[in-house]
């Protein structure tokens, strides 16, 4: 073996790979075809099966569920559903519009929905969205505490005829149309069940766009969507959409700046830069979520509501949002922001900044002794906000030693569940569907997995149950009363409602956010 040979082999290898990758990159688009590219985080492209999807804008481009939530009115409106009717909020009859087909031409029928839902609700499939089917009758049989499930289908989902679906719940849920708007409840064609892993990579949906090319595979950072000609809803404008995945929004924003991308989410400090750089091509997106400081109610030091009120009053939300977040956020005056239907009320009395009152309340409660530890999970924004909160608590309450601790998500949540966290914890909670009920339910219902404070109020539970039974208008009022009640109990104090941004290049227009903040792909206009 000679040196020359070794070098020669290396050079050859480089040349070969250069050729092979050169071929795949920069595939030209035919003349006259309207196309644009959009950046998303890798999380958006983790899975594309309805039962595993994360309800991202890509999911909504590929699938259209029974309903959608109208971004302007905040109401659930019919999509594939012709009508959704109920008398008691327990038994529901869904009529399906005729003429809808999957990308492979298969008819979208009641059976398509039933198949999809059964697959997700069936525990051994281990689809991540399985938990969403808990309100359905028959869920328990498919998800026994141990052993194999005795059934393979939900008894609460009944195909009456190809156009009619009958849904039975275990208890009333007036907000079902909102729930059904998530891609977890989208239909699946027969072809999917021959090869579920294959379907997850390259799903056949019923949405305005279909997946082009290979689809998802390990190491794929880019998928192409092509306009689906047979779509029955509002068709998209672009013929082709290139979806690129990034580790975080900052990376995709950098590509947007460099002109390699047309639409990108913007978060954190990049918003300030984007506001200056993109001006009117930056859309402010209020997220249907809240960032809050939760109190460990199992910790004796926080059992007195006055202590919790003192903490709540000692935090200067305005300044945190203005200085730290550069105005991209909504200082919380209540649980939910105006972007969440039913939200926007100033239901948090203790959320006003009042250091004097805070000190007085703490003194009344017997003062504070010893160190204070604040917790959150690893996230750049959380960490910075938590540190600011710590500084304010130290300054305004006179607590000497305030430390902060961050843990990975997979450590923090189990520790919270085991009540091993010994201080207030800063967390993010997004509404599962666009309704105040969702947020209140997730945070305060005793059995909810995301009720981390241990809040337990029969009065609250009663109001929520009433709301679930009531009609939509009445339900809203009841939910708001429940939220106010919880806020008075103050198991947690909201800090702010996060605001993100969507920035876009001059090549596109009509960029508007969907419920989770990402751009509605079918609404983007090219040129």
């Amino acid at each position: 073996m000679s040196v020359k040979k070794v070098l020669g082999a290396a050079a050859l290898a480089v040349a070969l790979t250069a050729c092979s990758s050169g071929g795949s990159g920069g595939a030209g688009t035919p003349q006259g075809e309207k196309s644009f590219s959009v950046g998303v985080t890798t999380y958006f492209l983790s899975h594309l099966t309805p039962g595993r999807s994360v309800a991202s804008n890509v999911d909504y481009a590929l699938f259209t569920p029974l309903t959608t939530v109208d971004a302007t009115s905040g109401k659930a409106v019919n999509a594939v559903a012709e009508s959704i009717e109920t008398d008691d909020n327990v038994t529901w009859t869904v009529k399906i519009k005729p003429g809808w087909t999957f990308h492979n031409g298969e008819q979208v029928t009641a059976q398509s929905f039933a198949d999809s839902w059964n697959a997700t609700a069936y525990a051994p499939n281990a689809f991540e969205n399985n938990f969403m089917f808990a309100p359905f009758k028959g869920y328990a049989e498919l998800n026994p505490a141990d052993g194999k499930p005795s059934e393979k289908t939900l008894s609460g989902v009944e195909v009456v005829d190809p156009a009619t679906l009958k849904i039975t719940l275990t208890k009333p849920l007036s907000l079902l149309p909102y729930v059904l708007a998530q891609t977890a409840f989208a239909p699946m064609p027969k072809a999917a069940f021959a090869d579920l892993p294959g379907f997850d990579r390259k799903p056949i949906g019923n949405g305005p766009y279909q997946l082009d090319g290979e689809g998802l595979a390990a190491g794929v950072t880019k998928v192409a969507l092509r306009k689906f000609g047979g779509y029955q809803g509002q068709a998209g404008d672009a013929d082709r959409i290139e979806v690129k995945s990034y580790q975080d929004e900052a990376a995709s924003y950098r590509d947007l700046q460099a002109g390699a991308l047309d639409v990108s989410l913007v978060t954190g400090n990049n918003l300030t830069d984007a506001a200056a750089r993109f001006k009117d091509r930056l859309v402010r997106v209020p997220f249907p979520a809240v960032i809050y400081l939760g109190f460990p109610l199992w910790d004796k030091r926080f059992s007195d509501v006055k202590v919790r009120q003192a903490f709540a009053h000692a935090i200067d939300r305005e300044t945190i949002v203005k200085s730290l977040l550069r105005g991209f956020g909504q200082p919380a005056t209540g649980l939910a922001g105006a972007s969440v239907p039913g939200g926007g009320a100033a239901d948090c009395a203790a959320c006003s900044y009042d250091p004097a009152k805070a000190k007085a309340l703490l003194a009344e409660a017997g003062g504070w002794s010893g160190p204070l530890k604040l917790w959150t999970y690893q996230d750049p924004v959380n960490t910075v906000v938590l540190e600011a909160v710590g500084n304010q608590l130290r300054a305004n309450l006179g607590i000497e030693t305030v430390t902060t601790q961050t843990q990975p998500v997979d450590q923090l949540y189990p520790n919270l569940a085991a009540k091993k966290i010994d201080g207030p914890v800063l967390l993010y909670m997004g509404a599962g569907y666009p309704h105040l009920y969702a947020l209140a339910d997730q945070l305060f219902t005793k059995t909810s997995a995301s009720n981390v404070t241990g809040y337990d109020s029969p009065e609250f539970a009663k109001l929520m149950a009433d709301a679930a039974k009531a009609g939509q208008e009445e339900a809203m009022g009841l939910t708001q009363r429940a939220a106010k009640l919880a806020m008075d109990g103050l198991p947690l104090t909201p800090l702010f409602q996060p605001v993100g941004g969507l920035a876009y290049s001059t090549r596109v227009s009509g960029v508007k956010p969907e419920f989770l903040g990402a751009a509605v792909l079918s609404a983007v206009k090219v040129g």
Partner: protein, 303 residues
């Protein structure tokens, strides 16, 4: 016929005493500058309060969010960090964890490397085989990946855990050099002589082998200090090292990366301090090595 030579005839007189190492070092400007900087950094670490107050600020914890991310202003030469604290005093206090970690890691690595390196080099045979293979594992394994895994696993992130991880992945380089030099020394004639007069293993190791084998390791460790400080900041930057409210350059840089575009001074000032510190330690190590043992250049090249 044993031909005597002039050299042997006059060799009794020692060659005009080796010019003092210190004198030799002092003549190098790189040494003078780098050791001065290193001393200042160490002083900062020991008594930050003496430096922090120079411009009127002084308390790194005195923060006002209103000033969040503001650029340099009178009395605040480096501006304010994102929490509205005086950045200058924070950067000064940041020296502490860097220096502490550098000390801990250096000490730890020397201990581990000396123990394992001597065992392998002195006893050879299977002891050497096992220790050498373990070293191979650590050499081949992408150290950064290993460190991330372990630090993810650690439930606390302070100077001690970060140091422990850095030691774990840093010792093999030193141990290999130690092993080599013990191997060389242990075959030396005076060791054979010591063994000949019946000295015990422990005595031979401690009295004869170690003192002679330690030199290269000590110098190499000196070279390493800059790298340790840089590694700490890299780990912290990745979010697995130190965490707020710890004050460290890595933490400051980690926070600053999000604000790089709008508040570049948050990145620039800690970077300058970090760079200058690492540089001074690297240069210091360089000069020490050149002065003490030019032979080591080869060893460093072939760890």
């Amino acid at each position: 016929m044993a031909s005597s030579t002039l050299a042997s005839a006059s060799a009794e007189a020692p060659p005009a005493a080796r010019p003092g190492l210190l004198a030799k070092l002092r003549r190098r400007p790189a040494f003078a500058i780098s050791s001065a900087i290193a001393l200042v950094v160490c002083a900062m670490a020991a008594v930050p309060q003496a430096f922090a107050g120079w411009f009127g600020g002084g308390d790194p914890r005195k923060c006002d969010l209103v000033n969040s991310g503001l650029p340099p202003a009178p009395g605040h030469p480096f501006g304010f960090d994102i929490q509205g604290c005086d950045l200058y005093s924070n950067v000064v206090y940041g020296a502490r964890s860097s220096v502490l970690i550098a000390l801990l890691v250096t000490a730890g690595m020397i201990v581990v490397a000396v123990v394992l390196g001597s065992l392998a080099g002195y006893f050879r045979g299977w002891v050497d085989a096992v220790i050498s293979r373990v070293m191979d594992v650590f050499f081949g394994f992408p150290a950064l990946v290993g460190m991330i895994v372990l630090l993810q696993a650690a439930s606390t992130h302070n100077e001690w855990t970060v140091s422990a991880v850095l030691i774990l992945f840093g010792w093999p380089v030193l141990a290999r050099v130690m092993r080599g030099s013990v191997l060389e020394t242990a075959t030396g004639e005076y060791v054979a002589a010591a063994r000949g007069v019946g000295a015990g293993t422990a005595r031979i190791l401690l009295r004869h082998v170690l003192p002679n084998a330690l030199g290269p390791v000590a110098v190499l460790t000196g070279l390493n200090v800059g790298g340790v400080i840089a590694s700490e900041s890299a780990l912290t930057f990745l979010g697995v090292g130190l965490q707020t409210p710890a004050i460290s350059w890595g933490v400051q840089l980690n926070t600053a990366q999000q604000y790089f575009v709008t508040s570049p001074h948050l990145l620039i000032f800690p970077s300058i301090f970090l760079t200058v510190t690492v540089l001074s330690f690297v240069l210091l190590g360089d000069s020490l090595r050149d002065a003490f043992d030019p032979r080591l250049r080869q060893e460093v090249a072939r760890p």
